[in-house]
Symmetry: C2
Subunit: 189 residues, 2 copies
């Protein structure tokens, strides 16, 4: 998505060869209308797939997921993050390791919000090692629902998540894929 | 907002005389199109106020705030919650006590996202004791920006936050105000 690449070039801050900060339009301040543009693009990519539900993770996945939900006319369910492991018969959960933040947390979705008839589009802000996406997919499959594919705002193409997930057979659509970045600039795939 | 009251009546779960669960359209699953309806209503209420920015708190404020941001054509800044007190020259922060959850947390906003020219609409999902809203307002005023008013999805009118904030001079617009509730139903104000 050319407008997203331009926005990342213009407003993103490359903090290191692996860390990109897009707090100005996605992770702290949110460009409301630009969310709609991205939601529209996700909806276009999956428009023939009879999506019934979007699943994302709090916090930064929510805005692009709701935007896509507006265009696909489906509800969004956001997985909750918890550092405590509260086993509960009413929720699906998975432990997820964040390499970026170097910590382990649990993601939880109430069982009532996923059912075997659901065709799910998973949306998230970043894809790096892919652990959060794997955890979400496992939860969705445990519910009996079908994961149709993933929609990612920014994929770090130099980290293995995207490649591994595509090799496993998952459709992964990333609006921008970063091949490499440093203080001189960002190279997109 | 009549459609919201109907939705609360139909989909909300009254767990006690003080606890209302609206996980099915706001706090866990999000009704994407209904967020737009609410955003449009917030925008209508504040349309002549030259709002330049919306401020909310993660997590459940984000969806209605972004919807309002779409109609007012302004960015949304969401305050981050942290249980650790990380004092930092680059952020404004306040300690907030949640009576509902019986815990204390910090809310943080990076200084770069608020400036003295901003006219801010504060949006949140619930208003009960009002502590989160007071903390947000203090942060916004510390930055030199102006708090124009608040937009709340559901106000618990039987708790003191809304009354106290209005008495202090703040404009508070709640799309639904609950006067009382129990197993027999909900009475709106």
């Amino acid at each position: 998505m050319e407008s997203l690449k331009n926005k990342i070039r213009k407003e993103g801050k490359v903090l290191s060869e692996t860390v990109l900060k897009v707090d100005c339009f996605l992770n702290h301040q949110i460009d409301s209308k630009f969310m709609l543009d991205m939601g529209k693009e996700f909806a276009r990519l999956y428009k023939d797939k009879e999506i019934t539900k979007i699943v994302t993770i709090e916090t930064s996945g929510i805005a692009p997921a709701v935007a896509a939900g507006i265009y696909l006319d489906v509800p969004v369910v956001f997985a909750k993050k918890s550092t405590s492991s509260t086993l509960n018969n009413d929720t699906y959960s998975r432990e997820v390791k964040s390499f970026t933040k170097n910590k382990v947390y649990n993601i939880l979705i109430a069982k009532e919000f996923l059912n075997p008839n659901d065709k799910v589009l998973v949306i998230d802000d970043f894809l790096a090692y892919g652990n959060a996406l794997v955890g979400l997919n496992e939860i969705i499959e445990e519910s009996g629902a079908t994961v149709v594919g993933a929609g990612i705002v920014i994929e770090k193409g130099f980290q293995p998540g995207g490649k591994e997930l595509r090799q496993s057979g998952l459709r992964v659509e990333s609006l921008a894929i970063i091949e490499s970045m440093n203080e001189n600039g960002i190279i997109f795939g």
